[in-house]
């Protein structure tokens, strides 16, 4: 290693990173002070990540709620620019993501590179949707009267995303980008065993133009963080897909808890298997977290 040859004969002290949560644009430690060991695909130690608690989840929802109006109030064009810039920064961290995905998912470097490329492309694809979704999902409805009748999609609000357990970057990007498109804010519970790409993504988001609180990343036990978020009355929607394969958690329980305040629930696909994230994306993930607003306006002729 270059560092060793410079500092020989004594090796250079390792500069180790402290992995933390990402809440409200800041990087707090877990309120509980707990951490857990993250291992690579072969079971070797990789890092200590923050073991988030339900109070961290509560703080994340507060941050997401505070950021929601501003994010939804930005113009669609502006949201597209901001999200595109995230893709630029993702590309800039390519090597780090490749290393983390390869270690965490046990992929060859070539396959990991393909996964990272797909993730960046996925982000760009969703960024392009911000100012187009209303044209596709909205409509001018014919009505029997002298009125314009126009329907347009609006963001649902605060969306909780339980991220996929296996696909730690491509899967993660594929579930958090869609709700952001229309102006939702997101609280994401990262993959329990493979949180490192989510943590690095939070560093990307922190240095991009995404306002603090629009995306909040929690690491920890999915079975501990999922239920309080699913039952939280200030959450408007939940994507429970990541509960598949999580220890001690059934997505049906999350859906049942979410019923209390009639959250929108995005279920995993039929068959209860994590989707193949390399398949072409579809705007239905965007529309899962929208509400349709219809206005009547007199034509005045």
């Amino acid at each position: 290693m270059a560092a060793q040859s410079i500092a020989a004969p004594g090796a250079r002290l390792e500069v180790r990173k402290t992995y933390k949560l990402f809440v409200g644009g800041k990087f707090p430690r877990s309120e509980s002070g707990r951490t857990y060991e993250v291992a690579d695909a072969k079971g070797r130690f990789l890092a200590n990540a923050a073991l988030g608690s339900r109070k961290d989840a509560r703080e994340a929802v507060v941050a997401a709620r505070a950021a929601q109006a501003g994010w939804a109030g930005a113009t669609a064009y502006n949201r597209g620019q901001v999200l595109y810039r995230v893709a630029e920064l993702l590309e800039g961290r390519r090597e780090q993501f490749v290393a983390e995905v390869a270690a965490g998912e046990g992929l060859s470097t070539r396959k990991a590179e393909a996964a990272v490329s797909a993730a960046v492309d996925r982000w760009v694809w969703y960024a392009g949707w911000t100012d187009k979704v209303a044209q596709v999902a909205g409509s001018a409805n014919p009505v029997a009267g002298p009125y314009f009748n126009i329907s347009a999609p609006e963001p649902t609000g605060v969306v909780v995303v339980i991220a996929p357990q296996t696909s730690s970057l491509l899967g993660l990007v594929s579930v958090i980008a869609p709700p952001l498109v229309t102006g939702n804010t997101v609280v994401v519970v990262s993959s329990e065993a493979r949180p490192l790409p989510a943590i690095t993504l939070s560093e990307v988001l922190a240095t991009s133009d995404v306002p603090g609180g629009v995306v909040n990343v929690l690491t920890g036990r999915t079975a501990e963080l999922g239920p309080p978020l699913a039952s939280h009355l200030d959450v408007n929607a939940i994507d429970v897909g990541g509960a598949l394969g999580a220890d001690g958690l059934a997505w049906g329980d999350l859906e049942a808890a979410a019923a209390e305040n009639v959250k929108r629930v995005l279920r995993p696909p039929v068959g209860d298997r994590e989707p193949d994230w390399t398949e072409a994306p579809h705007p239905r993930r965007i529309l899962a977290f929208t509400e349709t607003k219809t206005v009547w306006h007199p034509k005045g002729v």
């Binding site: 309080p228 039952s231 009355l233």
Partner: protein, 350 residues
Amino acid sequence: MSTTTPSSVPATDASPGTGSVNPSDPSADEIATLARAVTGAVDLDDAAWRRYLHGLPGVDRVGADARAATLGTRSIKTTSKAWALDTIIRMVDLTTLEGADTAGKVRSLAAKAVRPEPDDPSCPSAAAVCVYNDLVPVAVEALAGTGVKVAAVSTAFPSGRASRAVRLADTADAVQAGADEIDMVIDRGAFLSGRYAQVFDDIVAVREACHADGRDAHLKVILETGELVTYDNVRRASWLAMLAGADFIKTSTGKISPAATLPVTVVMLEAVRDFRAATGRQVGVKPAGGIRTSKDAIKYLVAVNETVGEDWLDPDWFRFGASSLLNDVLMQRQKLSTGAYSGPDYVTVD
């Protein structure tokens, strides 16, 4: 902190100053006699007050901050937390002090003070509704027979920059309209420039106005600690107000930042504790402004219990001046009863 759950019925007739500690309200003469006895001065002029107030032990700022920070680290959970939340609700002076206040807003606030949680009969009422003078009649009408008090901010609130005659007329107006409690501001300019006798006389005169025509409005004296600069001044102003016959000493108007802080409240709690030890008269404390979360309010309860003891853990002796605090307490209360985190959609917007 005790975990016994007190009756959730709001206090109705027990009032500050009528408890067993203070057998009768002293007259102006008795107040002056007491002040002379405590200060050891025959003539209560500025020089005498300066000798006395500046002779009070100084406050160790770093020590007070550290003490308050330590009190803030206590963890109050489960049954103690449930008790604390209900106690906080019973101690809240639900406040609206905006130029844009309307009769309708005061009525809705009054309804909320009586039944903070309409779905839950076990939820106690707030202590009082605190409004500007001209809205007192509205609040009195809305709260008649409920046991919730009406507090009025008088004496040219919040600055107090008016002649004494105007401030007294302001007070008399609120008392005539039926206010149960008067929140007055001291003249911080006079206090800071050393005209202590003037501040003392102001408070005594306002107190007289509170008791005019056989009425018995209780007097809360706002020190506006954010403008007093030092903790030494807070201690001096506390003693001056208590010697002038205040039933309560209150931190702030809420219009100045910083408003209530925990260290300032601890200093004031120490003052009321020492005052009772010296004179036998118990005075209440009301932190106001800037207390927005249950967590903060519980820290104040811990400070009360640790500094002055359970005698003050009662709405007759400790109040919170707050508006948004109540919603947060209600959300925490819902969390305790349902187990799910609540949100602002489930409390009233006010």
